[in-house]
Symmetry: C2
Subunit: 458 residues, 2 copies
């Protein structure tokens, strides 16, 4: 469907058009996402059980399946103004390079120092921690996007920030570490000698380079055992999707302002924070029967939770210390091949998105790594922006859809989420430039083995 | 002077408000900048002598001291739309942190993948090379901002790009190198074995890690000895200041739109491309006697060409193969201390800015490195953006002026140029975070010795 206005390359909303409320898609879901479950009791986690770990208001947001809108506190709105609105971009040059009649749009969330959309939830979580009178927060980070975003938000709100960074990343990504330190965060390589679990793992596996699961365990241990600290998480949780709805609300406001009607909406999917945020208001319309959109989740073929996983209760971490979530999962013991670059390595998927996918409201595709980097390179050369490997999964799917339009001659509007920049992922680009990048797809046997480890839940 | 409108955090012009003409400040200068001189003949370089090195249209721009405006070709305007307009930002959070009554604004040029303002001239130079039917361009790069910008522009316009990268940077900044390669550039560590000068230097100084002067010599040699290639340069030249005037024109348009009257305009100064671009239209008003502005160039105390140099003819490179330029210079043999981070290492200064400074139209201050990084850290924590070390010189001076306003109670409007981001300068931030960063100021004896090597020109 063609637009009815002259569309500029970059569409920025005015400051007073930035959303002032988050949208909670759960309110419009007929089948609600399944609750988190206490692995000890087998019963849904209560607010009481969650408050030692998460901030009080965030617990309420996590459990609220009914309230459709949450006002964004003024302090968070003020913070959003320092890096939002993010542009909605018409990919004129990519369209021309592909020779497609499709119109391609992307919502670019990488125009801030953390380099990704993660800042939208980091600022909310830091604000609520400060409001509760806490001293600080703890978290883990792998590739570093989340840790960087949280460091920035904590610097702004005046909160201590302790980041456990997977040791191999701490050593191989010193620049990410230095950004966090510049923002005043303490960055500790995990496993460390500062926690019981860290000391235990270091003793059992001398010389280990760590894992995200172990870093989560350390961050949670420090949060629950320190006065005035809570743990924060950058994806998967319902509260994170709520905060990230600002992406979709802003994208929709820009589409409405410029008379754009998306036909297809595409986002990369790891834990689901970006995809859930981008699609939120569009999915709301679809759930309420007001509009129809094709919505496509794009995941790496090396970590295919939607396309090859099962919908079941599972641990959120490899260490099996977190609550259980019902989600599409490959089993908490699944670890993507080491040659898989960037993020999107999580074995599971947001419970909200899992239920929506289960109910047929969205599709999923898995794409291979070298094809993703080919798309990234093509995009970078014509559109200018060097995309993050994660975001490039969405680029690949958008290009595929645009090429289908070229075959059929359809002038569809394709909207995708460009979640971030690739400035700190250049080791992967180097492998691609050198021709040494490879694809690895897990075998059916591998997946069956890790899925067999799922916990039993009634 | 207070503004007459509610000022948002970020001010973006509309796409149709992006400047369509560059402004040539030389047209309004009573005392024109001195011409480039052929070191062999001692006479001004003619267009004929310059065309084997530079593209034809760029030579015309270089020599034209009279035409006030040059239309920006539509193709370059289209490219500008992919990353411009850049935001003019009101630094509300910095003002609050400083407790100053001053209003602080910055024009942020780092919101593109090259991470700096260099793209404004790279795209122009690549376009003219393509228009002339050339195959490609050659250049040198040190820290890598310029090489990255040129690679991006060449990828867009379909031009081969050969970058000679100072060997020590090539090895220590592999990420910069990979960005350039992703955009299709050939990146060669300098000194290489591909040129006569490279082979000679490698033979004379086995194991040398290179210098910018040597990289320039290699790039020029390849340009003049290859069919269909020209050499391009990212700063110092009159043509570069002309292209960079888009920064100032856009900043001025935003100021006019939002009713902002700057009292003080501040920019960091290395070769002068950013400062010259930012101040261009404001300086034009000042030269024509229409308005008055305090204009401040900020340079590093470790490379103080304005504040401690002499105004004289000198070579533009350490290899003494380029034409001579009359400029404020420390002598082409001057090399800033190795502990000086980032750019702003050039021994001289744009001839245009040199003449304006000589004639009293602008001031200059030199600031020390650790104070610059303290300002950078404060800025990053409250304003979000992690600034480039170069840009942070301007931040430091802007903070100093804002603090003077705090003492006097004056509500001045301070505008500074935030030329780029620090994502690829994290080794310097690490030194700062570790407390191992130091200041080095050249002694009077050192400067006298390097200034004593100036060539003799009538």
């Amino acid at each position: 469907m063609a637009e009815n206005k002259k569309i500029p390359y970059k569409m920025y909303l005015e400051e007073n058009e930035i959303p002032t409320r988050w949208y909670n898609v759960r309110a419009d879901m007929k089948n609600k996402p399944f609750p988190l479950v206490n692995p000890g009791t087998g019963k849904p986690m209560t607010a009481e059980e969650l408050t030692p770990v998460f901030c009080d208001e965030l617990v309420q947001q996590e459990l609220d399946n009914d309230t459709p809108y949450f006002d964004i506190p003024q302090e968070i709105q003020d913070y959003y103004k320092t890096y939002r609105p993010s542009p909605l971009v018409r990919a004129y040059n990519l369209e021309k390079a592909l020779g497609t009649p499709a119109h391609i749009y992307y919502k670019f969330e990488g125009n801030n120092t953390s380099g990704s959309h993660k800042l939208n939830s980091a600022s909310a979580q830091a604000y609520y921690a400060k409001k509760q009178g806490l001293k600080g927060v703890t978290t883990e980070t792998g590739a570093g996007q989340w840790g960087t975003a949280l460091s920035m938000a904590c610097a702004y709100f005046g909160l201590d920030c302790k980041v456990f960074m997977v040791k191999v990343s701490y050593e191989q990504k010193p620049f990410r570490r230095e950004v966090m330190r510049t923002y005043g965060a303490t960055v500790t390589p995990s496993p460390s000698m500062e926690t019981n679990i860290g000391r235990k793992i270091n003793a059992e596996y001398p010389g280990t380079t760590g894992s995200l699961g172990c870093a989560i365990s350390e961050a949670v241990e420090v949060a629950v055992s320190s006065d005035g600290y809570r743990y924060v998480l950058g994806s998967v949780l319902n509260q994170v999707l709520l905060h990230q709805s600002v992406i979709g609300l802003e994208a929709k406001a820009a589409c409405d302002k410029f008379g754009i009607e998306p036909d297809i909406i595409i986002g990369c999917a790891g834990g689901g924070s970006n995809l859930g945020g981008l699609i939120a208001p569009f999915m709301g319309e679809k759930l309420r029967g007001e509009k129809d959109y094709r919505i496509i989740a794009v995941e790496p073929a090396s970590c295919p939770s939607f396309t090859r996983g099962v919908y079941a209760y599972d641990f959120c971490d490899t260490g099996m210390i977190t609550p259980l979530a019902k989600m599409y999962t490959l089993g908490s013991g699944f670890i993507p091949s080491a040659n898989h670059a960037g993020g999107l390595r999580f074995h599971g998927m947001s419970p909200v998105l899992s239920q929506l996918y289960h109910d047929g409201y969205m599709e999923a595709v898995a794409v291979e790594q070298t094809a993703v980097f080919e798309a990234a390179e093509q995009f970078a050369r014509v559109e200018g922006i060097l995309p993050a490997p994660e975001s490039s999964h969405a680029i690949k799917a958008a290009i595929d859809e645009a090429l289908k339009c070229k075959e059929t001659g359809e002038e569809k509007n394709i909207l995708f989420g460009l979640t971030g920049t690739g400035y700190f992922d250049l080791v992967a680009y180097q492998q691609f430039n050198d021709g040494t990048m490879t694809d690895t797809i897990p075998t059916d046997e591998d997946l069956a083995a890790s899925i067999a480890t799922l916990p039993k839940v009634e």
